[in-house]
Amino acid sequence: MTRTTDTVALDDWQVVGPSARITAAAPCRTRLLGQDIVVERAADGSLRTVEIGNDGVRGAAHPARDLYGYVWTTLGDPPRDPLDMPEFEEAGRRFVDCGKVTVRTSPLRIVENFLDMSHFPYVHTGILGEEPLTEVSPYKVEVREPESEIWATDCRFYQPQAAKSATGGIDTQYMYRVSSPFVTVLYKTCPAVEGAWDLIGIYVQPREETVCDVHIFMLLLDDVSSDAELISFQHEIFQQDRSILENQVPALMPLDPGAEAGARADRTSTVYRRWLRDRGLRFGVHGAAA
């Protein structure tokens, strides 16, 4: 085990698991940014993270907190709180924890795949897209201050089956948000309620530079489908991505603008890579020792 030295990655909040599964009787033993940790809940419900050394000896303690159904922790000193999602306060919202899936690649590849629409007809054929409707119309990307979050808006794509409850193809609208290097949420057309957004997000927990646990959640206005059906739909989509993600070479993501070819539809990816370069992130980056 080698803990990262990259303070950009360390000075941030990462998710380690669902709040409901980390109890006083069931601490969470895991690895974060190359560091073995145990996340413990006290009898009063408070949380803390303790580093575990190579020799198994308990080391430094760090803060941990519940937020939006998950336990977040940090091994450093984050300058700000994790993202704000007011939708969680809305009535009628249904939160679904879809579990975590391990993927062997850089966390940055995982986030970038989540932000991309042009793979829909090829990787999620017949569900999120299909030939010949492959064109990605121009959309907007900006970095919003003061949170310094990336937002892609005015995204839209024709989808044969946009959601579990969908009964036919629709033009789905999307917004994508990146609040920190390993945290991204998408907002998509809610089939049930016109004008509302369903949220699907991934919290990528990098155990090491190319081994990540991806925690997947949904916040929906669907009251028709069972949890099993919703989770099954999400797992199907994510597993299709996983078999691509583990076959990208190199696993560490290059951030140099000329390293990989881009197309017009890759604007969010271009902004994400530049945003990561500006932050000085080394963890998960090709050619940067972390």
Binding site: R104, E112, D116, M117, S118, H119, P121, Y122, V123, E131, T134, E135, V136, I244, E246, N247, Q248, V249, P250, A251, L252, P254, G258, A259, E260, A261, G262, A263, R264, A265, H286
Partner: protein
Amino acid sequence: MPDPQPAASTSGETKSIRLPSPPHGFSHDAWYAIGGTSALADGAVMPARLFGTEMAVWRGHDGICRVWANRCIHRGMRLQFGFVEGDRLACRYHGWRFGGDGRCVHIPSFPEGAPPDDFRIARFRSTEAGGLIWASTGTPPEDSPLPAALAEIGDGLVFCRSLAVNAAPDVVAGLAAAPVFPPVAADAAGLATPVSRDGDGALRCAWATPDGTLEAAYAARRLRDGVTVAEVSGKAGRETLVLLTQPVDDRRARLHVLAAGSGPAAAIRRHYAAWGRRFRWFAEHPGAHVASWSPVAAARELVQ
């Protein structure tokens, strides 16, 4: 998963890919067989590896086989998982289409745009000859990969099979050139004579019954790195066995087996495909090469 490769530039030139040092006896600037022509149908894609360098090998519906770097220039997706459309290869991730010369000809997310000229997959020199697909990570001096001796055998050579062997390339090539077990029937109840060297440099080994009757003989000549031609004589007559070693990486190789003989092609293929499996066993169990080895004992060892 295999180690990540350094990101190549999008210029598509092979020299931009950093190549590791080849194992002893092998060279980048040489041709190596990487599979049988019949193993890659029109419209199929398969992976290959030389000296640890990953390749995607595909055949268009124009029948032409191409060997490319196993990495799409867009987001690094392995092209071995792509699909063939006409005489183009499509990447599985975003469906980018590449023409026979490696140039990107279509980007589905932006269909009316013309992809830039330098959007090109890195390619390797490749050709087909003698029933085999050949490739090189460098620049071989010869245009034809086929050694003259193989060209002479000509059409009689039947491709039997390729085998992945978990042994170093020089071990595999060495075993192919210096036989220690009979390529004939496994139940040949004879004893091996020591390996000797012929006047023309061939390594010869013979098996005889206790009363001295010759059962089988095998004389192998190493043509060049990784290519061995052997004359096999046994009760069934004479056959020619051609063994080509493909250096996959430091620890692994592939063996391509071709044979020629007077019997029906299917019988020859069946026989030497089975022989190849025994070869693989010996290559992966180096402790089995003992001086007191006998075919019977070896056959018993192989029973599972």
